[in-house]
């Protein structure tokens, strides 16, 4: 386990940079993780996805699949890939401070 500092707060992350404790997350931390991943600014559409991921995880204990994300978050799949290049489910989960999604779909 590694400790890194985001937005002045030391947080624990796994080897791939996902927060180990979901409750250490806040919006400034999200913005800094996003910036590190090449998303300079999070807009309303990004936040819609991030908040959806987070609440789905807190409710079900697992990150939603990309299919559910495309159907239920209000952001269609095409746009998800524009908002989060290099894999929306993984990157949005990382920014949302939840564990890496483990599904194959």
């Amino acid at each position: 386990m590694t400790t890194v500092t985001y937005a002045g707060t030391p947080v624990e992350v796994d080897p791939e940079g996902f927060l180990s404790q979901t409750d250490q997350w806040n919006e400034q931390i999200a913005a800094e993780i996003a910036a590190e991943a090449g998303i300079a600014e999070l807009n309303d559409r990004h936040w819609l996805v991030i908040n959806f991921m987070r609440s789905a995880y807190l409710e079900n204990g697992a990150a939603p699949s990309i299919r559910t994300l495309g159907k239920a978050s209000g952001v269609p799949i095409k746009e998800l890939y524009d908002l989060f290049p290099k894999g929306p489910a993984k990157l949005a989960a990382k920014i949302a401070g939840i564990p890496k999604p483990r599904g194959c779909i």
């Binding site: 990309i66 299919r67 495309g70 269609p76 799949i77 095409k78 894999g87 929306p88 993984k90 779909i105």
Partner: protein, 164 residues
């Protein structure tokens, strides 16, 4: 065996895959689609090339009606005669489809559209299209083009080819 290359560096990550779907049964089509979607989820570029009966996956009249093979499929542990009984293939297909829905695996028509929306490119094989007397109008609009084997290899350059 070690993950380290000879120079001690980690192996290069896969950047591109070109997947060939050559079979027209449910269990013949899904693996390639799951691999393609999974590649896009990891940010890997994905091309899918449908050939022979694999074309059914992108044929708009047929892709809703793809069935599991119940004859000549020892994995089902079903007697060959039982697999041939009318209705058995439909039953097994419905059962599998229900199980897949539970795992959030989409039906084939939705799945191919999803792969296209994810930035995966879908292609039909020219030799098979000619063989079956098909034309571009027979395919879902997400299909980019009908291409030759040569064009497929050109497109696959610099990536991995996966045959299913």
């Amino acid at each position: 065996m070690t993950e380290q290359g000879t120079n001690g560096a980690k192996p290069e990550p896969i950047e591109k895959v070109s997947i060939i779907v050559s079979k027209g049964s449910l269990e013949g089509i899904y693996p390639g689609l799951i691999m393609a979607n999974g590649a896009r989820m990891e940010g890997i570029e994905a091309n899918v090339f449908f050939t022979f009966f694999g074309l059914d996956a992108i044929n708009k009249a047929k892709n809703e009606h793809v069935k599991a093979a119940t004859v000549g499929n020892p994995g089902l542990h079903l007697a060959t005669w039982a697999g041939a009984v009318p209705g058995v293939s439909a039953l097994v297909t419905r059962k599998l489809a229900g199980e897949m829905e539970k795992l959030d695996i989409p039906p084939i028509p939705e799945f191919v559209e999803m792969i296209s929306d994810s930035g995966g490119a879908l292609y039909a094989c020219k030799a098979s299209v000619d063989l079956f007397g098909l034309s571009e109008d027979d395919f879902i609009p997400q299909v980019e083009d009908v291409i030759t084997v040569g064009e497929f290899y050109e497109m696959a350059a610099g990536g991995q080819i996966i045959f299913t």
